[in-house]
Symmetry: C2
Subunit: 209 residues, 2 copies
Amino acid sequence: MKMKHKGILIVVSGFSGAGKGTLMKQLVHTYDNYALSVSMTTRSPRPGEEEGKEYFFVSKEAFEEKIAQEGLIEYASYCDNYYGTPRDYVERQLEKGKDVILEIEIQGALKVRKKFPTALLMFVMPPGAAELKKRLEGRGTESLEIIRKRLMRAKEEAEGIEQYDFIVINDKLEECVDKMHSLIQAAHFTPNRNEEFINNMRKELEELI
Amino acid sequence: MKMKHKGILIVVSGFSGAGKGTLMKQLVHTYDNYALSVSMTTRSPRPGEEEGKEYFFVSKEAFEEKIAQEGLIEYASYCDNYYGTPRDYVERQLEKGKDVILEIEIQGALKVRKKFPTALLMFVMPPGAAELKKRLEGRGTESLEIIRKRLMRAKEEAEGIEQYDFIVINDKLEECVDKMHSLIQAAHFTPNRNEEFINNMRKELEELI
């Protein structure tokens, strides 16, 4: 009897400036078993953004049809545009046994957990708030006011950390990628993600007695 | 700012014949950061058993005094004898940052979790029920009736698996020890085991805004 690992849906949240994007790309690049979910949006592509890479770009009508068909795991609107996670790609990858990663903020993360009770919620943080501020300043493109707004937003997001399964400190990228991988591997060994194995064990015991 | 890892209290349960004892000894032997808790009992030492190694052997009066002083994390009586986990050793090791391992069955495990909400509960299983039976028979010392009783006991214990944080399949010893270690390492990154780090982050953010 073998444990069959079904794919896990992994939701990554964290402060803006914590380095989530780089981390996720590096994780998918370094290890085999991950698939990155691509969101759908009604906003226009920015220069350099490619269809199906950063986002699937669709019209408002197409997005609303997707909602009506329950084709999205979660969605939200932000600055007059919709953003959501298409269900079909995620389910296809999970069935193949892939762990699927999506990046969304806390409200979306909690919605995902309602639909996928075995989803794994990870919260990425910089090693400290001062480091976060330094990273936000380091981009060199933002005004003090915007940095202050981001820090306030981080403070709000920090309220929800207890809802997550794991916190991940992004200090050194490589180390953090390995850590993230090992946390996800560990999550495969919880009882709720191995119901089939446990039920088979119970059945086998029953038959032997 | 650094995450300070406090020690975790690790409770190991599992079927008789799953190899818990060997596994725990090997874990403590292979990795540095573990301490094995020694139970206290009122039963008499068996030939070869040493005071403070297999158990602390005490009188019924001494045990009941310990109960009265709240000096035990959990205790139970079985076949007219008391068995319990002395609190002082466990707390001393946890304060040193050691992860402390105890082996107890499910009722005890749930009592421990009530007193130590961050305790990590692990359930050890053989790769299958047939393998379990083979191991029980392999000892060569037990009658068919006793093996049947053990299998029935295993079936009962299997009812509680969902209460545990992780299941561990003991197929190959070395692999299983490494797996157990990596699951415990992962458990250090849950929010409830890093309250201090999270609260410091919140305070720092507050001060920067």
